[in-house]
């Protein structure tokens, strides 16, 4: 595919992500922060998010498998996850986290487990989407073009 088409594809894809609620303006802010001094800022932050989230999800799974669940701990992890996701603009993940926290407060094990599953799901979705977007960007860059805003 030629450059122009690639770029168009990227823009469309991105718009759809916003549309579908996967990303919100926070992500736009992140993109604004990327400049010549910081060319890979977005990628770096997102990668960090991925790492952090995987770790947190594992922790959450472990914590919720316990006999006597330490809800405070669970809440702390969810809080972290919520913070991370809101920082990069992963809207859907953030929303689930909010619901998750409520269940934690109520000490509702069922609800927590359900939320955990949901979070997992949303997370993998957003991860895939972001990864494909980054791939597209790479393609454009290697074709010699520039990323459209």
């Amino acid at each position: 595919m030629d450059l122009v088409q690639l770029q168009r594809q990227l823009v469309e894809y991105r718009t759809s992500l916003y549309h579908e609620g996967f990303l919100d303006e926070q992500f736009t802010q992140l993109q604004e922060l990327q400049d010549e001094n910081n060319p890979d800022f977005v990628v770096e932050v997102v990668s960090l998010f991925f790492e952090d989230s995987e770790r947190l999800l594992n922790e959450l799974t472990k914590a919720l498998e316990q006999q006597s669940i330490d809800f405070k701990r669970v809440d702390a992890h969810v809080h972290q996850l919520k913070g991370s996701s809101s920082s990069i603009g992963a809207q859907r993940v953030q929303k689930v986290c909010i619901a998750f926290r409520n269940y934690c407060e109520e000490q509702n094990v069922e609800g927590c487990l359900k939320c955990l599953q949901q979070v997992r799901h949303e997370y993998s979705l957003v991860k895939t989407k972001l990864e494909s977007m980054f791939q597209l960007e790479q393609q454009i860059l290697s074709a010699g073009g520039s990323i459209p805003m």
Binding site: Q26, L33, N38, K72, S84, S86
Partner: protein, 723 residues
């Protein structure tokens, strides 16, 4: 016949011996100019002798040869004698004149002898004078000078008596001060206005006076004929006449009188050279006396100076000790007094936070109020002493004038409303928004003035107005020494605070600005205060090259406090005192805060990175920490802002804020602490404010939001986002 023979023979002998003798003696004497004449004379005589000798043979019949010889001899004799005679005509006048010359020379020699004698006398006199002068000048003591003079004069001139009459203090009499022969002169006095004395005084020569003159009658009347008396004046230089750059005026000269008497029974007369000697000596004495007087004076002055020096030195050392003592005292006071005060205030305010009964609360509040008052007092006194020292300097910086006034208003409003006073602020439209000056001290001044207005008003209203002083209003007739000069990069801020309180009476107005002076009315006494406030204000205002004064129409008629200070106009673009930036439009360049050192504390890695990205994009120098301990360790006075992500579950955020505040004792060194939170309730916000955070921002933070937040924070040091 025989006798003729003998006579002729003897004549001839004589005739022959005379030239022999002549020749002999001439030979002996080397200087006889007329040798030739002598030879001629000799020849003449020899020939005459020969003639006479030959005559011996002519008495009898003689032969023709004899006759021939005789004739020849006679002819020669005749020739020589004639020549001699002719020569003698020339010579004899000369010889005679020799005699006259000799006489002449003798006279000359006699004259020279006389003159030699004279010169010798003069030289002797000169020697005497020199010796006298030397004697006189060799001492700088008055008495010695005068005594020596008299003694030497007496010796030189072989005087019978020599006396010195000095004028008395009143100047109307002459008192006998020194004499040569009499050991202790009796204190004779003679009135000064005696014609003879006047005559002597009016001439600079030694004058012969009659022995019957009162000044000459010092010896007991003897049976002898008193010798000649001479008197001469001795000019006295009066001490006060002697100025460094002036010559003493001749009209005010004072004279002493020196009287010299020759021995009474000699027929000696005063010779001219002796009189001259006396005059010279008199002058020398005058000079020597004046030298002695000057020396006395300068010695006295020097002693005086030395005394003064010693006294000054002592005073200086005492002053230095006093200053050192004061400085030590102040240093100790500063620390020692503030420490307990700090403890009292801190602990009382902490105590206020705890559970207290109403009485206890009241007590604690009173303690707090009193200790705050005391702290203010201490600060005032310490400030004032620093002000007095001149060691206080203004902290110049650019600040927002409008914000300053608003803050004053906010601070004063609570107290005013308690007293039911209405406070209004009127800022002139041409008042610049920003100014360069010492913000803290200007605020202190305004607060003090407004505080006074509130303190001394029971009801009514207080009007604060501020405007730029115009040139013609700058000059106040009451203070002619205050000359404000309008210029391009500064302006004069004029602030008026008018109240409707108890006012001040006109005689008390000057006392208002004196330290510790308080108006002695009970109403004012009761309202407390140290009396230092206005004095300090005045000092600050003076430091800001301004002027402060109070007008009041009298007791009960309120009063108006007016002050003018000089403030600078800030350069809009290049001011970087506190990284202050005017508000930048949204799409301004990314580096709005170049190099601003910021500390970001966030436990969440992702959001930490995002915050960092935001700040880096704005040009800040970001340090990241992920825990509170690390935050406390890393934070320094270089960091201007600390962004703290506070998770509500933990109390960490609050604690850290307190701990950071504790770490920095001076408020202006402390970084601005801003909380970043996703939490949105009011209680949290209040908690943050109480703990002492300077700002609160809600997450998520956009780039523009962060930019505006930073600029607001740096400008105001305070930003609490509306919730």
């Amino acid at each position: 016949m025989k006798y003729q023979y003998i006579s002729d023979f003897f004549i001839a002998l004589a005739y022959f011996s005379i030239p022999l003798e002549l020749i002999y003696f001439v030979k002996k004497s080397a200087v006889f100019p007329y040798r030739w004449v002598l030879v001629q004379f000799g020849a003449f005589i020899v020939l005459c002798g020969a003639t006479h000798l030959i005559n011996l043979w002519t008495f009898t019949m003689h032969s023709r040869t004899v006759a021939m010889v005789m004739t020849t001899a006679k002819v020669f004799t005749a020739a020589v004698s004639c020549i001699t005679a002719l020569m003698l005509v020339h010579i004899i006048p000369d010889l005679l004149s020799v005699k006259t010359r000799e006489l002449f020379l003798k006279n000359k020699a006699a004259e020279l002898d006389r003159e030699m004698g004279l010169i010798r006398t003069q030289e002797e006199t000169g020697r005497h004078v020199r010796m006298l002068t030397h004697e006189i000048r060799s001492t700088l003591d008055r008495h010695t000078i005068l005594k020596t003079t008299l003694v030497e004069l007496g010796r030189t001139l072989a005087l019978e008596e020599c006396a010195l009459w000095m004028p008395t203090r009143t100047g109307l009499e002459l008192q006998l001060s020194y004499t040569l022969r009499q050991q202790n002169p009796v204190g004779y006095t003679v009135p000064i206005h005696h014609p003879m004395i006047n005559q002597v005084f009016s001439s600079s020569h030694a004058i012969k006076i009659s022995p019957n003159c009162p000044v000459a009658r010092i010896r007991p009347a003897g049976k002898y004929m008193p010798g000649e008396v001479v008197a001469v004046r001795v000019p006295l230089l009066h001490l006060s006449n002697f100025q460094i750059n002036d010559w003493p005026e001749l009209s005010t000269k004072r004279y002493a009188l020196m009287v010299l008497m020759l021995p009474s029974d000699s027929a000696r007369q005063w010779h001219v050279h002796e009189l001259e000697l006396v005059e010279v000596v008199a002058d020398q004495v005058a000079v020597a006396l004046s030298h002695a007087a000057i020396l006395e004076e300068s010695m006295r002055a020097r002693d005086l100076l030395m005394e003064q020096n010693v006294a000054l030195d002592l005073a200086r050392r005492e002053a230095e000790t006093a200053i050192r003592a004061r400085n030590d005292f102040l240093a100790v006071m500063n620390h020692e007094m503030r420490t307990p005060m700090h403890a009292i205030i801190a602990l009382s305010s902490l105590l206020q936070e705890t559970e207290l009964t109403p009485e206890q609360r009241l007590m604690v509040e009173t303690i707090l109020k009193s200790s705050n008052l005391l702290a203010t007092l201490i600060n005032d006194v310490l400030d004032l002493s620093r002000l007095e020292d001149g060691s206080l300097q203004l902290d110049l910086g650019t600040f927002n004038l409008y914000a300053l006034f608003r803050e004053v208003l906010n601070l004063i409003k609570p107290i005013a409303s308690v007293k039911k006073l209405h406070v209004s602020l009127n800022l002139a439209p041409d008042l610049p928004e920003y100014a360069v000056g010492d913000e803290k001290r200007l605020m202190q001044t305004i607060l003090n003035v407004v505080g006074n207005a509130v303190k001394f008003s029971k009801d009514g209203s207080i009007l604060i107005s501020a405007f730029v002083a115009k040139a013609e209003l700058l000059r106040d007739p009451r203070t002619p020494e205050f000359f404000p000069v309008p210029g391009d990069n500064h302006f004069y801020l004029r602030v008026q605070v008018k109240d409707s309180g108890i006012g001040v009476s006109s005689q008390d107005i000057p006392k208002l600005f004196t330290k510790f002076a308080q108006i002695q009315s009970t109403a004012i006494r009761n309202s407390g205060g140290s009396g230092l406030g206005l004095a300090i204000c005045k000092r600050f205002v003076n430091l800001m090259e301004g002027h402060i004064w109070i007008e009041s129409e009298g007791l009960g008629k309120g009063c108006t406090a007016i002050f003018m200070v000089k403030l600078g106009i800030p350069e809009r673009l290049n001011d970087s005192k506190l990284a202050l930036m005017p508000k930048v439009p949204p799409n301004h360049g990314p580096t709005a805060f170049p190099g601003l050192k910021v500390l970001v504390m966030d436990e969440n890695g992702v959001s930490r990175m995002v915050t960092k990205g935001l700040l880096v994009h704005l040009g800040c120098d970001v340090t990241m920490v992920s825990s509170s301990e690390e935050c406390l360790r890393v934070v320094s006075h270089e960091h201007k802002v600390v962004f703290m992500d506070v998770c509500v579950p933990g109390m960490d955020g609050y604690e850290i804020a307190i701990r950071i505040q504790e770490k920095f004792t001076k408020r202006h060194e402390r970084p601005i602490i801003v909380a970043l939170t996703g939490n949105t309730d009011k209680a949290t916000k209040e908690k943050f404010m109480r703990v002492g955070m300077d700002g609160l921002i809600l997450k998520p933070v956009s780039l523009d939001k962060m930019r505006s937040v930073l600029s607001d924070l740096l400008e105001h040091r305070v930003l609490f986002e509306a919730i």
